[in-house]
Symmetry: C2
Subunit: 353 residues, 2 copies
Amino acid sequence: SNAYRLAVIPGDGIGKEVVPEGLRVLEAVSTKFGCVLNVDHFEFASCDYFQKHGQMMPDDWKTRIGGHDAIFFGAVGWPETVPDHVSLWGSLIQFRREFDQYVNLRPVRLMPGVPTPLANRKPGDIDFFVVRENTEGEYSSIGGRMFTNTEREVVIQETVMTRVGVDRVLRYAFELARRRGKHLTSATKSNGISITMPYWDERVEEISQGYPDVKWDKYHIDILTAHFVQHPDWFDVVVASNLFGDILSDLGPACTGTIGIAPAGNINPERKFPSLFEPVHGSAPDIAGQGIANPVGQIWSAALMLDHLGETAAAAGVVQAIEEVLSRPEYRTRDLGGSAGTADCGKAIADAI
Amino acid sequence: SNAYRLAVIPGDGIGKEVVPEGLRVLEAVSTKFGCVLNVDHFEFASCDYFQKHGQMMPDDWKTRIGGHDAIFFGAVGWPETVPDHVSLWGSLIQFRREFDQYVNLRPVRLMPGVPTPLANRKPGDIDFFVVRENTEGEYSSIGGRMFTNTEREVVIQETVMTRVGVDRVLRYAFELARRRGKHLTSATKSNGISITMPYWDERVEEISQGYPDVKWDKYHIDILTAHFVQHPDWFDVVVASNLFGDILSDLGPACTGTIGIAPAGNINPERKFPSLFEPVHGSAPDIAGQGIANPVGQIWSAALMLDHLGETAAAAGVVQAIEEVLSRPEYRTRDLGGSAGTADCGKAIADAI
Ligand SMILES: CC(C)[C@H](C(=O)O)[C@@H](O)C(=O)O
Ligand SMILES: CC(C)[C@H](C(=O)O)[C@@H](O)C(=O)O
């Protein structure tokens, strides 16, 4: 059936402004493409909620949203009241881990109407995906301090990679590469990070055996960031550990003009748990509450969500509507040099559908 | 006195081609600026040496070069014969650690005649330093594997930060910022790497108290890489952990056109041990032996070395000579779109002095 239950979580800051625009576009989609979207709204996973309840989420959060088909998420974080590592580890990173959203999928595409900081690049030149491991690796919670507050103080944090965790994200990336340009790039740093990263390389080597039709290469993360700037046209699918994927999926969108419009899917490919779709940008306290935030990242996330739900035509329709509207200066928000408000841009995209 | 003992280690690949050009320029410097450079050549710290001796360096390497005033280093690594993590951990990373070269200093500057991938940037627009912690952090040797070759396989590597290690590199960076534009940027990821990185932030906060005249800010590494591309003019001194500094000091030079000309100083500021100067680029097996490698990174490293030795006029002279020669198309190597050979470019810079 094409009816879906969505858990909507706006979170903090501009999350509350851009999520309604995402929903506006989803409404237009449901009319046009005839899918039924049943929406439940949740206030938790926000710093407001933390201030009232002393924790980011209720104890039963998993039962409340675990049965939904997808989570449509805004942004979380309000460092003035709650430190980032508290708010984020108490919400977003919980979702990723508890709902086993082990793939963080982030398209990097140069869109019309978005000025790129790179010389001589035009829409069409840059079009790839970053596939980021999303549950383990450098984002561990193991470690601690010793000799605290003395000159001998030592602080340790462990990076943890598992065979299961590494192999499954590599397989996802190889599958994606097989469906696209048949070219995979692996981010490594085995020349410096001498235990986990050589392991990562070994697993890539091993998993690649099952994909003889996919050409693959690898670069150390340092030179890979350089190539993103100098040769963004080289890439098709880039697979990376949690931290390296985090870096590459901000750097990639920056090369295509702005992280302000980039989307992300936190995906459990087996659909055992709901996947979560969110813009790459954060809650942006500096511009929150002014109605000027760019809603395109949120709306593009809706497209990723539709794709995940199997509504591929609707997904393509949203991306096309985004491209159309971005080409028209009057609907560009301030960050893109225009003067449109959040809602102006959102309405234009909804209308274009 | 202005007589110095240099240990010269060409290493592998193009290291052997660019080091002689660095020495050529240093000879010109010694004539022009009247300093005496006594040079000792060493074959170890290379994969050739490894193939003969089964290890990268002789057991007594510390006594052989520990008494020199500086190490002038090419590049190490020849993955066809020795895996990178063996060759690098057996040489370069040993030097950094055993000679307590706890600062890795890397200038990022847009030079004349070097085409930048960024739109609308010209020489003068980008000019900052990356100060990278160089002995601890993510580059640890602690960790291992368990349940090897089974589905339960788990691989762990520890990031280790010490109060001593973090504070001293932060102080170096604050001092440098005080002498320059009085602006320091700290690279963090305390919202994701939730144990070591909040610690790093705390120490920055604490050390900053001693530098009320230095303005400082911090960015998470993901958005910081985006800012390098979008706003490279924002930066003056950027301080970072070992891994983040590694990434930023390839990305920065890429934004200014190429890592092919970028230099690095691995510095023991107290001069208890020799410091090591090397180009940022590696041994480049793909172009080694052809006489076409760009020697500017090696020569610029010589300038950093002269600066460290207190020969500031000579250092400035070398940088000026590099700028002069880079402005002239006929001396540009292939990587910069020219057709000059390694030696043509090196000679031109030596002549310009
Ligand atoms: C070769 C490698 C181990 C080294 C590093 O990561 O430190 C290099 O990239 C560098 O920046 O000097
Ligand atoms: C907010 C932060 C914890 C998060 C991450 O590092 O994963 C964000 O940067 C992202 O990329 O989704």
